[in-house]
Symmetry: C2
C-alpha cells in the first residue's frame, strides 16, 4: 500500500500560488502561517496513511454486519481504533472553532487534508464528513444551548452526525418529504422513513445525531413546508430514541460505509432553525458537502493515478518506438515509455492538479466570505464560492470517474483485479456523481440559480478574474501559450452563456437540455484559469517541481482544454432532437 503519497508539496504550492497570505491575514488566523499549516497537513496526512489506508481494501472485502433484530451495524475490524486515533490527533476538529475544541485552521488548507482522508479510505472518510456537515448546520442555525450540547461532542468524535433527507418517494425532489413531526412537551415526535442515510448506524461512537427533514402539522405542501430537527440516537437520560436502522443498501462500492434505511417511530426531535424553513439549515450542510464531494472525485482519481504510475514503472511490455529509450538489459521496456500510456497518465495528472488548484482557490473564497472585515470582499468571495461549488461537485466527480477508468486502462488486466486498488477506487468513486445532488442538479443550480443571480453578477465576478489574470501577465511573451487558450475558452464560455440567457427567457427546457454540457464548458474554463495562474507562478522554472508544473500546464492547454469544442457544439444543438421523441419511443 505504499504506492500512495499525499501531495503535500503540491498543496503548499497551491497555498502560495492562490494567496494563502490573504487568508492568514484574516482575523484570528495569525498563528497559521504557511510553515505551520504545511507541517500540520504533513502530520495529519501521516496519520491517515498509517491508520486509514491499510483498512481500505479490508473494509471493502469484509463489509458491514447488520443485525436485523437490534438494528445494530458493526464496522469492519480496525475501524473503531482508527477512528479514535483520527480524533485523538485532532483531525476531526482541524477546521472547527477552538471554542468547541477545534483547532480553528482556515478552510483553505484544511480542505486539502480532506483529499488525503478520501484518498486513503473513502468509506471511512464519510463519517467525519457527515459530522463536519452537522457541525456547520448547528453552528449556523442552532441555539446557544444546541451549540453547547452538540458541537464539543462532534469535535471530539464521541458523537457523529448524519443528514436525513431522502425518503423512498423523494431524493432530488425534496418537496415530496412526508415524515411528520408533532408537538410533544417542549419539542417534537417524528415518524417516517428515511433512506440512503450515510453512517446512520455504526459502532464507532457513543451517540449519533441525526439532522432530519420533516413536516410540522399544517405545514404548506412542497419545499416551503419542511422543517429541520435534531434527532439523537440516544437521549439525555441514556434511553434509546425511536429511530432505528432497519436495513442496509447493497452497493457497488463504499462497502464499509453503512448506507442505512432509518425508521422513525415517534422519535423525539428538537427543531433547529425556523419552522418550515428547514431547507435553509440543510443547505448550509449541503453546500460545504458539495465542495467536498467534488474533492472526493479528485482524491480517488489521485490515488488511482499513483497506482497506475507505479504499475507503469514496473510493468515491461514491448519496445519503445524511440530506440534511444530502449532498455537493452531487459527483453521489454517499462510501459511508461509508450506514448498512449503517457497520454492517459498526463490526462489524469493535468486534470487532477487543475481540480486540486480550483478546489483550493474556491476554499479560499469560503475563508474570505466568512472572515474578511470588508463587506465588499466578503460578498465578492461569496459570489465565486457559490458559482464554483456546483461546478466543482459535478466536474470533479465525473472527471474523477473517467480518470480512474483511464488509470485502470494503464494497469490492464491487473487493474481489473483486487490485486490493485484501482477497481475499488472506481466502485467507491462512482456514487459521488449521484449523491449530494446528482450532477445534473448541480448543472441546474448553475444555470437556474447562479447565472441569473444579481443579473449575472456571479459570472461577471468570474470573468473579472479571467481578465485580471490575462492583464497581469500579457506583457510576458512566454505566457502566450497559456493566456491564449484561456482567452479563447473564456470567449466561448461568454458566447454560450449569452445564448443560454436568451434562450432561457423563452424556454427553460432549452437551458435544462444543455445545462450539463454547459457546466463542463465552465469547468474547463475555470481549470484553464487556475492553470494559467500556476503557469505564471512557475514560468521561471526555478525548481524541478516548477519545471514539471509548467509542462503539465502546457499539456492541459493543448490536450485537455480542446474538449470544449465538442461541448460548445452540443450546447448549440439544444433541446430539439432529444425532446422530439415521444415517451414510448425510448
Amino acid at each position: 500500500m505504499d504506492y500512495y503519497k499525499p501531495r503535500t508539496e503540491d498543496m503548499r504550492f497551491l497555498l502560495e500560488t492562490f494567496g494563502y497570505d490573504e487568508v492568514q491575514a484574516l482575523p484570528g488566523n495569525g498563528d497559521y502561517d504557511l510553515d505551520t499549516v504545511t507541517a500540520m497537513l504533513e502530520e495529519g496526512a501521516k496519520v491517515l496513511v498509517n491508520e486509514f489506508l491499510p483498512l481500505n481494501a479490508l473494509g471493502d472485502r469484509a463489509g458491514l454486519v447488520f443485525d436485523p433484530d437490534t438494528g445494530d451495524v458493526t464496522m469492519p475490524s480496525g475501524f473503531k481504533k482508527a477512528w479514535k486515533t483520527f480524533c485523538a490527533n485532532g483531525l476531526m476538529g482541524l477546521h472547527h472553532s477552538p471554542e468547541y475544541g477545534g483547532s480553528g485552521m482556515p478552510y483553505m488548507p484544511a480542505v486539502l487534508l480532506g483529499e488525503v482522508t478520501s484518498a486513503t479510505n473513502k468509506s471511512f472518510s464519510m463519517c467525519p464528513g457527515l459530522s463536519a456537515g452537522l457541525y456547520e448546520a448547528i453552528s449556523h442555525h442552532g441555539t446557544e444551548h444546541q451549540k453547547a450540547t452538540f458541537l464539543p461532542k462532534l469535535v471530539s468524535g464521541e458523537w457523529s452526525g448524519t443528514m436525513c433527507l431522502t425518503e423512498p418517494q423523494c431524493g432530488t425532489d425534496l418537496g415530496l418529504v412526508s415524515s411528520k413531526a408533532t408537538e410533544y412537551e417542549d419539542h417534537y415526535k417524528i415518524t417516517g422513513t428515511k433512506i440512503w442515510i450515510t453512517f446512520g448506524e455504526h459502532d464507532l461512537c457513543d451517540n449519533i445525531i441525526h439532522l432530519v427533514l420533516a413536516r410540522l402539522p399544517g405545514a404548506p405542501e412542497g419545499i416551503k413546508g419542511i422543517s429541520c430537527f435534531i434527532v439523537p440516537k440516544v437521549l439525555d437520560d441514556g434511553t434509546r430514541n425511536g429511530i432505528k436502522c432497519t436495513g442496509l443498501e447493497h452497493k457497488m462500492g463504499i462497502k464499509a460505509s453503512p448506507t442505512c434505511v432509518m425508521s422513525m417511530e415517534e422519535a423525539e426531535g428538537w427543531l433547529i432553525g425556523e419552522p418550515h424553513r428547514g431547507m435553509r439549515t440543510m443547505f448550509v450542510m449541503m453546500n460545504s458537502a458539495r465542495l467536498e464531494v467534488g474533492l472526493e472525485g479528485m482524491a480517488l482519481s489521485e490515488a488511482a493515478y499513483q497506482a497506475a504510475v507505479a504499475y507503469a514503472r514496473d510493468r515491461r511490455q514491448s519496445r519503445s518506438l524511440d530506440k534511444s529509450k530502449r532498455d537493452l538489459n531487459a527483453k521489454a521496456d517499462c510501459i511508461l515509455v509508450h506514448p498512449d500510456v503517457r497520454r492517459m497518465l498526463a490526462n489524469i495528472k493535468a486534470t487532477n492538479e487543475g481540480m486540486r488548484a480550483l478546489i483550493a482557490w474556491t476554499a479560499k473564497q469560503s475563508d474570505i466570505a466568512h472572515g474578511h472585515p470588508d463587506e465588499a470582499r466578503r460578498n465578492g468571495a461569496s459570489d465565486l464560492l457559490e458559482l464554483l461549488t456546483p461546478i466543482l461537485k459535478s466536474y470533479c466527480t465525473e472527471r474523477g470517474f473517467l480518470n480512474i477508468s483511464e488509470a485502470m486502462q494503464v494497469c490492464g488486466g491487473a487493474g481489473y483485479t483486487q490485486d490493485w486498488p484501482v477497481e475499488q477506487l472506481m466502485r467507491d468513486e462512482r456514487i459521488a456523481m449521484i449523491y449530494e445532488g446528482t450532477n445534473h442538479i448541480q448543472a441546474l443550480d448553475l444555470v437556474g440559480r447562479k447565472l441569473p443571480q444579481g443579473g449575472g453578477r456571479l459570472v461577471r465576478a468570474f470573468a473579472g478574474e479571467v481578465t485580471k489574470t490575462i492583464k497581469a501577465h500579457k506583457a510576458d511573451e512566454r505566457m502566450e501559450p497559456f493566456l491564449g487558450p484561456l482567452k479563447d475558452a473564456s470567449k466561448a464560455l461568454t458566447a454560450v452563456t449569452m445564448e443560454l440567457g436568451a434562450k432561457g427567457m423563452k424556454d427553460p427546457e432549452e437551458v435544462a437540455a444543455v445545462a450539463s454540457n454547459y457546466l463542463n464548458i465552465f469547468a474547463l474554463t475555470a481549470l484553464a484559469l487556475v492553470w494559467a495562474r500556476m503557469a505564471a507562478k512557475t514560468i521561471d522554472e526555478r525548481s524541478p517541481f516548477e519545471v514539471t508544473k509548467l509542462k503539465t500546464a502546457r499539456y492541459f492547454m493543448s490536450n485537455v482544454l480542446p474538449e470544449i469544442h465538442s461541448l460548445v457544439s452540443l450546447v448549440k444543438a439544444g433541446k430539439a432532437q432529444m425532446m422530439a421523441f415521444e415517451d414510448e419511443e425510448f
Copy 2:
C-alpha cells in the same frame, strides 16, 4: 428481470437495410431467408432470456468455488442445466457447419443473437464464445483428423474451448511467451504457466480443449518463434492431462466467469498449424473474438439502457418544465419528461443502435469475404472487415462503458445498488476495454497495420462506401441533415488520415500518441455512415418503428457526432506535450 427485451425488430430491420439478401444469395445459404432467420433469432432469444438472464445476478453474487487441492472449479447453481438447454437448442452451433452438427446460419444474423447472449449473462456467454473461437481456429488450421475429433464435440457442447496466450510476464507483448514444448512420441509435452484463462476450468462439460501458445526447442526469439498446440484437459484414454487450474483471479466483475491461472507440467499437446507460426492460428480466433468483444460492449449497454428506461418511466421526481406534460393526478412527473434524462437516454439509444448496425454490416463483410464466388468481392469485403474489426472492438467497449455509466446516472442512487442490474453491467463490461487486445492495441492495429495495408487500400474501400451512400441519396433533399454531417465527418477523417500518414513516415511515436483518438474519429464517421443508410431506409416514415429510427438518426447527427471536433483537435496536438515529461515527472 422482465425489463430486458431482445431487439429482434431492430435486428430484422438491420438485416434488410444492410443487404441480407446478398448474404442469403451466397452458396449454401439459400434456405436462410429473412423470415427463417428472424424466427430462429426470436426462438434463440427466448431461450437466452428464460435460461441465462435469471442466472445473471445470481452468478454475480454466488461466484465460483475453487478447490485448491483438485484444481476443480464449481459454477454457480443452475449454470450446468442452462448450458445443456443452450446446447440442446442448437445455440452453440448456430453459425457452425452442418458437417459438424451446426446449423450453418450465416454470420450476419448469428452475430446478432450474440448480443442477446452477452446482454442476458455476460459471464456465461464467455464459455460458448471461447468454444466458438476454438472452432474457428481448428476449422481453419487443423488437420482433418483434428477437425473430426474436436469440432462435433464443441458444437454439441460436450466439450468447451479456451485460448491460452497470456503469461505472467506477457499480455500485450506475446513475443515474450516462454512456455516450452518438447517432442514426445508423435506429439509434444508442454510446460509453463498461463494466466487470465477464461473458462480454463469449470464443471459444465466433460472436457476442456485448450489452445496453447508455446515455444518449440530452438525456436527463434520473439513473436516469430511461437507455436500453437491443442491441449485437452482429459486425454483419449480418459486420464487427466498435465494441465491444471491453480488459482482464480478476483475480479471487479464477470464473477461467474472463471478466470484461471493454468499450470502445465508436461501436458500433452498436439501441434496445430505450422511450427513457429502459431500466431496465425491464434489470430483466426482473435479476430472473430475482437468483433464479438465489441458486440459485448454494445450488448451490455443495451441491457443497461432498457433498465434505465424502465426506471425513468416509473420514478417520479419534480415537475416537467413544460406545463402541458405535467401529470396532475400525481405529485410529481416521471423523470422521463426531464430534458437531461432524455439527453442521457438518447445518447445511449443513438450509439447503441449505431453500433448494432455497424456490427451487422461488418458481420456481413465476413460472410461475403468467406463465401462469395467472386474473388474481387471477397477481397473488398475482407478489407472492410479487417479495417472495421479493431474499430468496433475499441469503440463499442469504450462507448458501452460510458453508456452504462450514463444509464446508472438516470437511475440515481438505485442504479448504484444491487436492486438494479446496472451496477453489475458496469462491472461486467469494463474488462472488455482491456482483454482481447487492449483498446490501444486496437488503435495501433488500425494505424500501424490497417491504414498502410496495400497503400491505403482499406481506407479507400471505406471512403468508397461513404461516397456511394452520398451519391445514392443526394438527390433527396430530405437526406441533407444526414448526408451533410456524414460528408463533414468523412472530410475530417480524410484530413487527419493524411496528416497521420505524413507524420508516421518521420516519427512513429507521433502516430502512436494519437492513435486512440484517431480510432474514435474513424468510429464516429463509420457510425455516421450506417446512420445515413438507416435514415435513407426510413426517410418515408411508413411505420412507428421508422419514425423513431429517423428521429434517432437526427439525434446522432446533431448530438453525438460533434464529439469529433475535440478529437480532431487532440490528433492535431500530437505527441509534443505528453512526450515532454521525463519518466520521473509522472
